[in-house]
């Protein structure tokens, strides 16, 4: 995919965080817009077409959260890809990750992250979106700590294993 035509929306209630990501993304040739809240993000999504949304989970000043925005995106604009991000601790982070995947996010990234890492993830999601196997095609092997299914077995990380 040609990054010069890719449009990205960054949503986080910390505006300075959005701004630095916007500059980093623009430097890579992406078109980028930012929103410091979920309601504003939904408004922007209705007005503009975005190929990808980098979406925080929590907006302190609003009753909606990132999962609500994610559900809206996947219902109204199913082709728009979503990378969710959060700064929550491991346990809460894992549940957030599970929910993000459940509601259709293509990827999940935990803060703190380096700009380079987000850029890598964005590139990967845009060029090579993960193929999510159907439920019946997946089985979990607790002995070998792997998820077995197409496209192949995936090793569970330590924190996921007990879950």
């Amino acid at each position: 995919m040609n990054s010069s035509v890719v449009s990205i929306l960054v949503v986080d209630d910390e505006l300075s965080f959005c701004e630095v990501l916007k500059i980093g993304l623009q430097d890579e040739g992406y078109r980028c817009n930012i929103s410091d809240g979920g309601a504003k993000a939904i408004k922007l999504l209705r007005e503009e077409k975005f190929d990808l949304v980098v979406l925080d989970i929590r907006f302190v000043s609003e009753s909606i959260d990132g999962f609500d925005v994610l559900k809206f995106i996947k219902k109204e604009y199913p082709k728009t890809k979503v990378i969710m991000m959060t700064a929550f601790s491991s346990e809460e982070g894992i549940w957030n990750e599970i929910n993000a995947k459940k509601f259709g996010a293509e990827d999940f990234i935990r803060k703190p992250f380096a700009l380079e890492m987000l850029l890598r993830d964005i590139k990967q999601v845009l060029e090579n979106p993960p193929t999510i196997p159907k439920r019946e095609e997946v089985s979990v092997s607790t002995n070998s700590a792997t998820v077995v299914g197409e496209p192949g077995p995936i090793a569970l990380i330590d924190a996921e294993h007990p879950l």
């Binding site: 986080d12 910390e14 300075s16 965080f17 701004e19 630095v20 990501l21 500059i23 980093g24 430097d27 929590r58 302190v60 000043s61 700064a87 929550f88 601790s89 491991s90 809460e92 982070g93 999940f108 990234i109 935990r110 803060k111 703190p112 992250f113 380096a114 700009l115 380079e116 890492m117 990380i157 330590d158 924190a159």
Partner: protein, 238 residues
Amino acid sequence: MTQDVHVVCDPQSLLLTEGVCFLYMIYHNGCMNFDELGNSHREIEISENRVDEKGKIIEDLTSFSVQNDNPLYFEDFGLDDDSVLIKNTKIKKEVLEGLEKKVCLDVENAFLHFKSFLRGPIFTDSFHQNHVLRREWEKKIHEIDPKVYEYYQSNRLNTNRYCVVESWLSILEKDIINPDIKNKLSELKRNIPIELKGGNKNGGPKYSELKDSKKVKAIKEISEIVKQAILLLEDNSD
């Protein structure tokens, strides 16, 4: 009735800060828990010029904390607007040499962000891993006064705050042409404590699981890096 305000600082600097502590004591109609001061050697910078808008916000936040289970433990209230490091907004000519206008604006943005980072306080709280309780508490502050909430959110321990620093350093490292400044920026970026660096997805540096004392130590280290970055970029020839 007396109430404790959690302020920990270097006992050596107590005399300098006594006047400000007194203001807090009056404001809260309580008294300081000076016993806590004796056991710690942490730096805190409070100048008498703090009786300004920021001072009022700090008072409101500490007052809110006292009235709502007093969970906040202040380590540092952040630099004042009139401190030398914040006041000077001139950037060295050699930093901007050969840069396009848009990139110059980015450098300026980074420079201002570094200053904004150092203006933020450092405080821990008693919620630890109880994020649900912390979020309820934060919502209350936001409802009461968005300006106080803004200061609360500028806590340097807040992941978004220090995460932005690393991103800005990456952008500057890439954009600045002057080789000497570029190299020094790369070195500063390399010195960011490992706990604060963007980690890999399967595990990461687990900043959120660190003990508060380790978080504070790492944040003080990155604050020092930010100070060095400002000094590297700023023109203090006047």
